[in-house]
Amino acid sequence: AEGFRLLGILDVQNTPCARDAILHGAGGSLAAGLLHFLATSRVKRSFDVGFAGFMLTTLGSWFYCRMNNAKLRVQQRMIQDGIKNKVVYEGSVLDPTNKPGAPGPS
């Protein structure tokens, strides 16, 4: 389904990690800007700090989530290959369950 696009380009509903990254960014921006304002009472500078907080939090959350997804994808592919090749490898040296073969002649 067509999702809502931020700035007309970023589909936050259908792009994995996008929605969480933007929400984390918004929260981080609010926290950073508010804390700075409470500490310094400078409005414009607090907006700038808030925006910097948005960029950094969004980037951080985005990369963290994408890295985890990439690792999960690699694991998923390995599991798929393992299931596909289970029958082929069973009883051989490549069998991950390491069932020992029949003992050879003594």
């Binding site: 067509e2 970023l10 994995p16 414009k44 925006f51 960029m55 969004t58 980037l59 994408r66």
Partner: protein, 230 residues
């Protein structure tokens, strides 16, 4: 296949297309953040009352806005090059198919084991049955076994064409007198549509490509039937 007023990519049907989708998301997030930054700077510059008529230079900001874009470009370039080389890998194909472009239809040759060849013409709009897609359906589909590496050799018999299937992440120019090679794996069964992607005359928009990925035994049955009919 594509749906009306679609902006993004179609769902991926091959591992390479999955990687391309992920890279696109990565690049798009960077683009989105840069656009937000520019928008913010514009608003800040337009709403400020501060002016300084005597600035001559500022080393710090010059360093920042030289180094930061370079870092961003490297962040984009590294996954991009990785995928570029990934797309060039040909991992021992199980099947080789020749796709020949003509004015205005495609012909497919499966000559690995037997001599199987057929033409693939677009189904005209007036001949469509309910549920079929206008300008996308073809009378004979290119059937392939699912989860098998397929090599496609693309060429043309007359003028330039281009064999493209977006869902599989494949596009290769069909040049007369030249044999171009591409490879893909269909990771799920399904029907995937594409259209000729190089202007080739009056009916350039009316020579679609339809790839049908089926389990191996269905592919074997299909090829036996096609050989009998030939």
């Amino acid at each position: 296949m594509a749906h009306p007023s679609q902006l993004g990519f179609q769902d991926a049907a091959s591992p390479v297309m999955e990687e391309l989708l992920h890279f696109h998301d990565h690049a798009l997030m960077i683009v989105f953040l840069i656009s937000t930054l520019v928008l913010y700077i514009i608003v800040a510059m337009v709403t400020t009352k501060l002016t300084n008529k005597y600035i001559l230079d500022s080393q710090e900001i010059e360093i920042i806005w030289t180094v930061l874009p370079a870092v961003i470009l490297i962040l984009i370039a590294l996954p991009s090059l990785r995928i570029l080389y990934l797309m060039d890998e040909i991992n021992d194909p199980h099947l080789t198919i020749k796709a020949m472009g003509h004015q205005w239809y495609w012909s497919y040759e499966y000559t690995d084991y037997e001599d199987l060849g057929f033409d693939s013409y677009m189904i005209p709009t007036q001949d469509l049955t309910p549920g079929q897609f206008r300008l996308l359906e073809a009378d004979h589909r290119m059937v392939i076994p699912v989860e098998s590496p397929i090599r496609v050799l693309v060429s043309a018999e007359d003028v330039l064409h281009s064999w493209a299937v977006p869902a599989l992440g494949v596009k290769m120019d069909a040049v007369p007198g030249r044999l171009n090679q591409t490879a893909f794996i269909a990771s799920r069964p399904g029907v995937f549509y594409g259209q000729c992607s190089e202007i080739c005359g009056a009916n350039h928009s009316f020579m679609p490509i339809v790839v049908e990925a089926v389990p191996l035994e269905h592919f074997e049955n299909w090829s036996s039937l096609m050989l009998e009919d030939a």
